[in-house]
């Protein structure tokens, strides 16, 4: 009995121990963020490039050869609904421009076979083509939701998929507000625009940019202030898609209409 009592911890001991544990956890957690910043390998001063796209809606003629070239270059399944890049035709009909029913959006087979005008000229208030692809967001929702770390932003600003690590859960496909991802029907993994990373690294332009006959698509280094992309953004009224979502896209559009979502 006497021995047991001696061994027994007092309330004071218990409080001491638990506050010591709580204190050290708090102390460690204060250093944790500093540690991860210190271990971060790429900061602005280190990276060589920070890639972005610039699309000029005024120059896009809707030939759809970008979407076609993308499928060929990247072995994207030929069926509709699997697209890394596609083109949409927006047609705003005469009448009240604020009403949604006056806006028609068409993208037959992603524009791969080109477009035919479906609304007669006299009913049209305004019509234009919008090329779309992954926005390679700086704060990418798809990267945030991936449970296994199979999608990520490379140090040079390209959002990629690690298809050998992806489990195909499809969270990223749902998270992308731009509809830029799809589940590859054979690989059963998420797939999307890679900015033609394999071409970039060989010094070539992405396939869609390379084949664009009017120069409506361009790409460049957002860190290079004298470069063509930064100059394009500087000299045009550029906007990004869905800025209110705070995804910080690196795809900039000239002459983007309010109606484009």
């Amino acid at each position: 009995m006497e021995l047991n009592k001696k061994n027994k911890k007092t309330r004071r001991d218990f409080l001491k121990l638990s506050s010591a544990i709580a204190g050290s956890v708090a102390f460690y957690s204060m250093f944790k963020p500093i540690e991860s910043v210190a271990n971060r390998k790429t900061d602005v001063t280190e990276r060589e490039h920070w890639y972005g796209f610039g699309f000029d809606i005024e120059k896009c003629i809707g030939c759809g050869l970008c979407a076609k070239a993308c499928k060929i270059e990247n072995d994207v399944p030929r069926e509709p609904f699997f697209f890394r890049t596609w083109v949409e035709q927006y047609t705003i009909k005469n009448g009240h421009i604020i009403k949604d029913e006056n806006v028609i959006v068409e993208s037959p087979n992603g524009g791969i076979d080109g477009f035919t005008q479906s609304v007669p000229d006299k009913e049209i208030f305004k019509s234009f083509f919008v090329p779309k692809t992954c926005n390679h967001c700086y704060k990418a929702p798809c990267v945030q939701v991936c449970p296994v770390g199979a999608t990520f932003e490379t140090p040079d600003g390209v959002v990629l998929v690690d298809d050998s690590y992806c489990v195909g859960c499809g969270y990223c496909i749902q998270a992308c507000p731009y509809g830029a991802r799809y589940l590859h029907p054979e690989k059963k993994t998420a797939d999307k625009c890679t900015f033609c990373y394999h071409r970039l690294k060989k010094g070539l332009a992405p396939a869609c940019v390379d084949v664009c006959p009017t120069g409506a698509r361009m790409y460049g280094d957002l860190d290079d202030k004298e470069g063509p992309l930064v100059q394009f953004i500087k000299n045009h009224t550029c906007r990004v898609l869905k800025p209110h979502l705070n995804t910080k896209p690196k795809l900039f559009y000239n002459a983007l209409n309010e109606e484009v979502r």
């Binding site: 927006y90 080109g114 770390g149």
Partner: protein, 146 residues
């Protein structure tokens, strides 16, 4: 120390040890090098083969057409925009492994009348304009309207 506590400690050490060993095997190589992903995946993505070759390569053999194209409004257009990817053709240059578009619909992709099309592009209605013949019978795509 009481025996049962000692047993528990030993068990804990074994379980934690096994966890650490398993972790070593389960975490792929290069994971976490740049962030919460496999750094080697960057390399793997970069290693895919290209199909659309460097646009300068076409002119190495077809310098006559490149020169012809320089004088016309199609001068800035990549050959592979119309002719498709050139990867097979530069390895083994035969007419079979390069695309030669001849149909009206192909020209119509850019030149068919469409309200959304930029006005600087010459446009015709392919359902009305000289329907009987192919575009290339009158217009040389390498130097159109010359």
């Amino acid at each position: 120390m009481p025996k049962h506590i000692l047993r528990l400690i030993i068990l804990f050490v074994i379980v934690i040890g096994l966890f650490l060993v398993a972790r070593q095997f389960l975490i792929p190589e290069s994971f976490g090098e740049y962030g919460h992903y496999r750094a080697n995946s960057i390399e793997e993505n970069a290693n895919h083969d290209i199909k659309y070759v460097d646009r300068a390569e076409c002119a190495e053999c077809h310098d006559d057409i490149a020169a012809l194209k320089q004088g016309g409004p199609h001068k800035n257009i990549n050959c592979q925009t119309c002719h498709g990817p050139g990867n097979l053709h530069i390895e083994d240059p035969t007419p079979e492994n390069i695309v030669k578009e001849t149909e009206r619909e192909f020209c119509g992709r850019c030149h068919n009348k469409n309200a959304a099309r930029a006005k600087l592009i010459k446009q015709i209605d392919i359902n009305e304009h000289n329907i009987e013949s192919k575009c290339i019978e009158c217009h040389n795509p390498h130097e159109p309207w010359n």
